[in-house]
């Protein structure tokens, strides 16, 4: 079973008098364990596609199967539950809750989980996640006390705390400098290779896309190319995604 299967997805926005077609029949398959970059210029429809893939939006027509479930016919609340279970999001602007500690930020999705997760259990899991992104010593720091790279790592920890089967990263490095960008991208690669987490990177930056194993180009609402990317950046052994604490502080 494929992880993601899109069949003839169309999305049309109704702007009053005129209808604006944004996606004009996208078909796509993503298997478990892939690291895919979704590339396209602004206005190409990549954000819309990403929203549909992330179950935030529904297509006008077409079918979307996520691990054997038909998402295109789900209600908003059902999709919310699905997002909670299977999808993690990382945003360009981090979107952390202000004046809230990193730990609480990471634990936040657990409070919407279907099963009963005790206070202690969610704390433990959030702590574990923060440790894995190298922020074990920043548990009680608020976002304003963290650097951009650290904030994004908190966001990644938050996206992973529910053990999702797929991680969407929407321009995850858009607000970061080149050094932290590299750091974050390596983290994604590590997650993909060592944890087997499927990652879809949405970007307009070819440099970022080069870190993916497969690049999907989208243009005018259609996929123009879906070839495996040439891996120009082999992962070096010394720069794992598990960033040491000294590096974490240095990123500030």
């Amino acid at each position: 079973m494929e992880l993601i299967e899109l069949r003839e997805i169309r999305k049309t926005y109704d702007m009053g008098d005129i209808e604006v077609p944004v996606l004009k029949g996208v078909s796509l398959t993503v298997t478990h364990g892939e690291l895919v970059a979704l590339m396209g210029t602004s206005g190409s429809g990549k954000s819309t596609l990403m929203n549909i893939l992330g179950c935030l939006d529904r297509p006008t027509s077409g079918e979307y199967w996520l691990e054997g479930e038909d998402v295109s016919r789900m209600s908003a609340d059902k999709r919310a539950v699905l997002r909670n279970r299977k999808i993690g999001f990382v945003f360009q602007s981090f979107n952390l809750l202000p004046r809230t500690s990193a730990l609480e930020n990471v634990a936040m999705p657990l409070s919407y989980a279907a099963g009963r997760i005790s206070e202690r259990e969610s704390r433990r899991r959030a702590e574990e996640m923060l440790r894995r992104v190298g922020l074990a010593d920043r548990l009680n720091h608020e976002p304003s006390q963290l650097s951009g790279g650290q904030q994004q790592r908190v966001a990644i920890a938050r996206a992973l705390v529910n053990t999702p089967s797929i991680l969407f990263a929407d321009e995850p490095t858009g607000n970061l400098d080149s050094r932290t960008t590299e750091e974050i991208l390596r983290m994604f690669q590590r997650l993909n290779e060592e944890e087997g987490i499927t990652i879809i990177l949405v970007t307009h930056d070819a440099h970022v896309a080069r870190h993916a194993r497969r690049v999907i180009h989208i243009q005018d609402g259609l996929i123009v190319q879906g070839s495996p990317a040439v891996d120009e950046h082999p992962i070096t052994s010394d720069a794992g995604w598990e960033v040491s604490s000294s590096e974490g502080r240095g990123g500030r």
Binding site: N51, L56, A76, A80, R83, N84, G88, N95, L97, T100
Partner: protein
């Protein structure tokens, strides 16, 4: 989500901006505070007014003998003598709703002290229960005793007006005054009471044991109420007539008035003019009346189809009128306080709307990580309710403190009202729900995509 978790999320969100939360809830604080203060001060003043009315005799139930009628002519209330002191004892024994009862014997005659004389409005013969029934106090000296009542001793207690009229600046205690030529020792002075509801001076009173008034002074009951007529025609006051007897000579030395009064004939059957009873509380008056009615009808052996030979009256009308005034005032003030609660609610709604707009991205994020619209609605609703309850709690403290301050500074009576506190909690929670609903609903309707992109 578990309830306590929701509350924790709410308090955490509020703690992010404590100053704003405090200012937002200020409307509720003031509203609830004024409700509590109004209720407490209102209840206190209502109690005080009721006490005042009670001291004016509004709680007093008046039992008077029935009217005699003969050949279609009725003679008015009190024209027969059907009440006895034993009736008083029976009422005290068998009517639990009656707190106290006192027999009353009335007369109206001249009172003399030295060179001064006065005809007081009321000369009451009663027993020691009278003071309790009338809610009266002795200002100076003491009340006559139960033993004085039993022995028919010639002692009396004077009202303020009488003291002024007869004694001017002297102390009347221990002095002897003469009522209908019978010497009474003054043992006490009653406190001042002013005019009653009919405008009669209540201080213009002499209070003496009912036995003394009955057997030594009035001789009969209300038969000679018209004392002015009796005294002008009778020779008793004018002692000169004894010196110059114009009538027939008597065989035996005639007993003087004083001698006769000093040696009352034993009377088996005493009748009294009125029984004054006081109920346990103003609310018990109807119950007390029905109990006394039963007891008296039984004692007087009146068949069920016969009319009573007595009548029972109370001043409920007056009490009702006065207490309804305070109730109305309290309600009016409550309305004002309610309006301020509504204004406070609007303030909450306003800030919650601002908060929803401000936290659009947070809402989007929460939705993206799996919050359903119900979760978002719940979160903001609980936040508003928490804010209101917080304001309510503060308001209760402030209202209570305010009424305490009023009591401290103005000595206005204050009564803690549990009902008001419960109502305040309930009202502030419902204000939270009502005014928090729209912003929460608005938040829950947000589109996660647009919310995430909101700048």
């Amino acid at each position: 989500m578990k309830v306590y978790k929701i509350f924790r999320t709410a308090t955490r969100a509020l703690r992010r901006n404590p100053m704003r939360a405090l200012l937002t809830t200020l409307g509720i604080v003031i509203g609830v505070g004024s409700v509590i203060a109004m209720m407490e001060i209102g209840a206190g003043s209502a109690a005080a007014i009721q006490k005042t009315i009670a001291s004016m005799g509004a709680n007093v139930i008046n039992i008077r003998p029935g009217a005699a009628s003969s050949g279609g002519v009725t003679f008015g209330s009190g024209s027969v003598t059907t009440l006895s002191p034993e009736d008083v004892d029976a009422i005290l024994k068998d009517c639990p709703a009656v707190r106290n009862a006192a027999p009353i014997v009335r007369t109206r005659t001249q009172v003399v002290y030295g060179a001064r004389n006065w005809v007081p409005t009321f000369i009451y013969g009663s027993n020691t229960a009278f003071l309790d029934v009338q809610d009266w106090t002795i200002e100076d000296g003491e009340m006559f005793s139960e033993r004085d009542v039993l022995n028919g001793n010639r002692v009396c207690v004077l009202g303020q007006t009488l003291v002024r009229q007869l004694f001017q600046n002297e102390s009347p205690l221990g002095k002897n005054i003469r009522i209908k030529n019978i010497s009474f020792r003054v043992v006490g002075v009653l406190g001042s009471k002013g005019a009653n509801m009919m405008g009669m001076d209540q201080d213009d009173v002499i209070l003496a044991p009912w036995t003394t008034i009955k057997y030594r002074v009035s001789g009969s009951s209300l038969g000679d109420t018209n004392q002015s007529a009796a005294s002008s025609s009778s020779s008793s006051v004018n002692t000169l007539s004894n010196l110059y007897p114009g009538g027939e000579a008597s065989l035996y030395p005639e007993q003087s008035e004083i001698q006769a009064a000093d040696n009352p004939m034993p009377v088996r059957f005493a009748s009294i003019d009125t029984i004054l009873a006081v109920a346990q509380s103003a609310d018990d008056i109807p119950e007390a009346i029905s109990q006394m009615n039963t007891v008296l009808r039984e004692r007087h052996r009146i068949r069920p189809d016969e009319p009573s030979d007595f009548s029972i009256m109370d001043m409920t009308q007056m009490t009702k009128a006065l207490s309804s005034t305070t109730t109305m005032m309290t309600n009016l003030l409550l309305c004002v306080a309610m309006i301020s609660l509504v204004v406070g609610g609007v303030g909450i709604m306003n800030i919650m709307l601002v908060s929803v707009t401000e936290r659009t991205r947070e809402i989007g994020l929460r939705m993206a990580v799996g919050a359903r619209s119900w979760d978002i609605l719940q979160q903001f609703l609980v936040e508003a309710v928490t804010l209101c309850l917080l304001g309510g709690a503060l308001g209760i403290l402030m209202g209570h403190g305010g009424s305490y301050l009023v009591w401290l500074s103005l000595r206005w009576p204050v009564e803690t009202s549990v009902v008001a506190i419960a109502a305040a909690v309930f009202v502030s929670a419902s204000v939270g729900v009502v005014f928090g609903f729209y912003p929460a609903w608005k938040a829950s309707r947000l589109d996660p995509i647009e919310a995430l992109r909101y700048e």
